[in-house]
Symmetry: D2
Subunit: 350 residues, 4 copies
């Protein structure tokens, strides 16, 4: 059959995307999909687009006996909930890919500051691998616990890896301006997600310090070799899928357009899911061109007059920003072709 | 290697979808993609979402010598243009799938009425097969020339096949109300497709007699065994992909909900790309749930009080309404699994 | 000073529109706006777009002592709730404009069938005036209790008045297909109104018999002089504001395009808020052109080949479909210029 | 009667908005509206939403004899075209409000750099007033030629006036990230504005140096008392109306949240069209809440951890960003109430 996979928290958008991707994955069998709210209901009750797939499968409540029959487990749960399941699953020798924030930060005390809880498993934080293949491919090969990055963080980090790694920018003045679609906030209706309220917005939110900046600072600081403080302001805009990070930076003496081009080529030239965008016809990254796919389109605008550059990364927040990147990391962990299940081209126009 | 395929007219939306689907098709190699306007430019100049696919391929002008090295040809061209190429391609023994309207109507004189030109190849019209597998699967197996249905027509016909075939409705009062997204009008900008003008519309168009009604009447009349005159009114609505046909009908004596359910099961129970929708949670077909896929979701609303039923079919106009259905028919013609290249689940939310 | 007005149920979208319109009304002073949920909060807490208007006003709970100091009361409440307040307000001599369904149907027993409750005030139903000026302007002048029409009903009735009144159509085969934006469902978030779920839909709902058909049959039957049974199928489509009714009909012997044109001119030629659309450039009514205004654009498509016509009316569902029409009726009742507060042109592009 | 106004260039979106606003203006009569392309056609041919307004008016070609009968002229023309008309109109003693860029920059040589032409009327540049009342109200009172600001510039400048004027920020590190709706690009269809291409984008454009930065630097430098170089990156996002500027800045020693609040109050407390946003319920400015109105909503996010602030301004790009601001300046010039014609509340939800 193939590798057996369980999904804990399969009724949300990320869970739906995991189910969709894994239906295309030739090495995998999904043996369990859990949902507290929809336990007993068919998968297609919540994900009607999947009618014809997972035909006889129903959501189950979390039953660790059944889940432990899997070889690997994806967790897609609200902050704090993965903590309940992960230790037991790891002890049983399964691989764990957690799509939530519970293991993304290395320093336990950061959980108090950013998430408001004391992390109960500081030892696990030491062995987790942050699941971004572009930064941690080698470590992923032997990882047991993977913390899959947040969507805003993924766009922000991918935009800045070349500039930070190649020391092209003033590290004290980095302002990341993120724009995201409505699916990022998940499947639960709120006053702010109500269609008449949410459509057509250009709405800053958590503009003074979104939680995702903690991951961004952690990963880029590691690259930079010193601790960075980064300005980070997300905005909700009028689409369903897509996130664009625009990182506003000032260039150091000697850094010019050619240096930036070289940095992108050196960092991303061989990456299977990074596409470097240098127009025409399309001048800059735009999530429009990655919808439904695991690609991240990256690029930059160089403004010689002002001595600055804007670095950009465009992703589908549910794919490279969530389920797609998680499967990419899972493929590395399991020794599969990194692209398995993920080679569907983007959908356009959409 | 596999079967060699050429696409004449590959720069439009339907051409882009053919390229996208065929990149997933394991039996096919695309050897040529033409575009008069973009000849010499990379495929990705027009279809930036396909960066990373067809990496070294460029559009070529129509060069029949090269095209005739293929085994089959898809044509995706404006009305009247396929006529120039089809006879020569057929003579060379290639299979032809025409996604335009040039061969959809059986009666040559209908081209004068509906398309404003005298059909120059009435003999070809006799051997063409209308490429809807749900109606003509057997004939498709030995077809040489396939006229792939229009998008509005596909939704309209699929909605009504069970009711007409099983004689459930008053054939003199059928009003089909179609709602479609903006991609249906193709890739060429017009005053009406300009974003500020097109977004948020609920805009009737060609409301007194859209050309697609000719195909609808032809196919449903053949099923009914008598000639039908059908009211047909399309509306442009605010999405990019998707078409919904709502066929308003009155039931004949004796026809009730059970009879309708039976008719759907009997017509569509074994169809690989038709999904019968009976809520909850989703009560009726909605193109939202088929985006990016070749599925048609069908269903109905039964109104006992008024003695009528509304039959519905929801498709992605570029997929089951164009490129997807064309590949489905092509698969049948070539003896492949009908679903090859088409089993990607719909994308949702999108 | 001017006439004192109270709004019971002012936190919803219709309430917000009443507040917006009345801020432009030169004869009116809003003395109270109620909201159970938001009592004590500033108006702008719920309606942030009104910052700078109603600057010091807060929602209050329903306090009849205060409300009875008004001269007229608008009620914008869920089905069944107006019943609690209306008799007492009427007894005190105030005019009442109810924007909900509690008094729209003349026959008390219809409330059991369509709304699931026994109407407790059948006597009031006898004196209520259905608040559509195009049908009941004279009665409105002396009305005390006005039942303001539903939005779907308004579009449907306005589309069909000329054809029914002038006896142009087969009354036994009328199918009304309505398309509406997301604001119609009100301000309360639901699973179906969640932006990622609601955007891009073409979603039939209550397709076998929406409650609004009861009003439509009542009013059109009165015009026809016999009881009509009408097929009625609404669809949610991808915009926020706007409703289009497309009424599919078959013409009686002798009815032709000229007769239809005459009927429209005779019924609507002098109406201040009805605009007859005969393209080009815009061929048919489209709610896009009435956004934010009280206009209803009406028109038709004549299909000689099939012997049928599609009659259309396009409205802003919150304006002519709710708050605008209510203020128009109120103006008539109070003896003001019917257009007072309502002469803002539509907003476009929007 | 009132003041006679002519509009040169009335067929675009800004022209349409001028017509819409002036229909509400009690002191004004529009005596001419020109359009080269649509001369002779009714106003409503191009602006169908205005049916019922300007009922017998047609576009005329530019005929200066007729135009000079006006008291004031609005010009809404592509870059370079106003130059042809303005001197002659001024000589005749009319007031001119130019909504294009031809007179916005004080230094003639800047036209070579930013617009690619040598400015032929450097003397006029000395007497023009930049038409932003929040900066130049006093000068406007006696102005003859008003250069009405660009939309992106308006949002950017309004976001930063308090911080620059009160010296709260590091003037060497200002990055302005603008997000705008599709109407900003005007009424002419292009490949990039085609609905299937434009909807759902998050698309950086002219990201290395948009022309509007020239005005922004000019006006903010004047406030700062030294020359500023500002990073400026606009993005097209998925709505029709609306522009949000997010200005990323770092605070100087001693500047804190209180200082920012004071600066906003001192700069904007008495401005009739500036609304300071300090949530809840709505935390930051969002163009959603100003649609169809002349308001600019301003606010900020203070990030103590990083020592920075993001300043924001949200406008309707066609109103405060174009026609609305132009009428506001015109009102000041003519001695009318500054708010005349502009007091319509925003439309929401829309």
């Amino acid at each position: 059959m193939g590798v057996r996979v369980a999904i804990i928290g399969a009724s949300g958008y990320t869970g739906g995307e995991l189910l969709r991707i894994l239906s295309l994955h030739r090495e995998v069998e999904v043996i369990a999909a859990t949902s507290r709210e929809y336990a007993g209901k068919p998968i297609t009750h919540v994900h009607p687009h999947l009618r014809g797939f997972y035909a006889n499968m129903r959501f189950m409540d979390v039953d660790l006996d059944k889940i432990l029959r899997a070889d690997a487990v994806f967790l897609s749960l609200p902050a704090g909930v993965s903590l309940q399941y992960t230790p037991r699953i790891l002890e049983s020798g399964l691989k764990v890919v957690d799509l939530g924030p519970d293991y993304r930060l290395k320093n336990a005390e950061d959980y108090v500051r950013w998430y408001g809880f004391e992390h109960p498993q500081p030892d696990l934080l030491k062995k987790v691998v942050y699941g971004m293949p572009e930064l941690h491919r080698e470590e992923l090969k032997s990882a047991e616990l993977i913390a899959s990055p947040g969507c805003n963080s993924t766009a922000a980090i991918l935009a800045l890896i070349p500039a930070v790694k190649e020391k092209l920018i003033d590290l004290d003045h980095i302002a990341i301006d993120v724009k995201v679609g409505s699916s990022e906030a998940g499947r639960k209706p709120t006053a702010g997600s109500h269609h008449p309220e949410r459509d057509n917005v250009i709405r800053p939110y958590e503009a003074s310090g979104h939680r995702h900046v903690a991951e961004v600072e952690q990963e880029l600081s590691a690259l930079a070799g010193r601790w960075l403080k980064i300005a980070f302001t997300p905005h909700a805009v009028g689409c369903i899928r897509g996130a664009l990070a625009t990182a506003h930076t000032w260039l150091v003496e000697g850094a010019d357009e050619k240096a930036i081009v070289r940095a992108f080529a050196s960092c991303y030239g061989k990456e299977p899911f990074i596409r470097i965008v240098r127009g025409p016809p399309v001048g800059y990254p735009d999530p429009k061109y990655v919808v439904g796919s695991n690609f991240a389109d990256v690029g930059f605008a160089y403004d010689e007059r002002v001595g600055r550059a804007a670095f950009m990364a465009a992703i589908d927040n549910l794919m490279k920003g969530a389920a797609g990147q998680a499967v990419q990391a899972f493929n590395i962990v399991m020794g599969f072709d990194e692209r398995e299940g993920l080679l569907t081209p983007p959908l356009k126009p959409a």
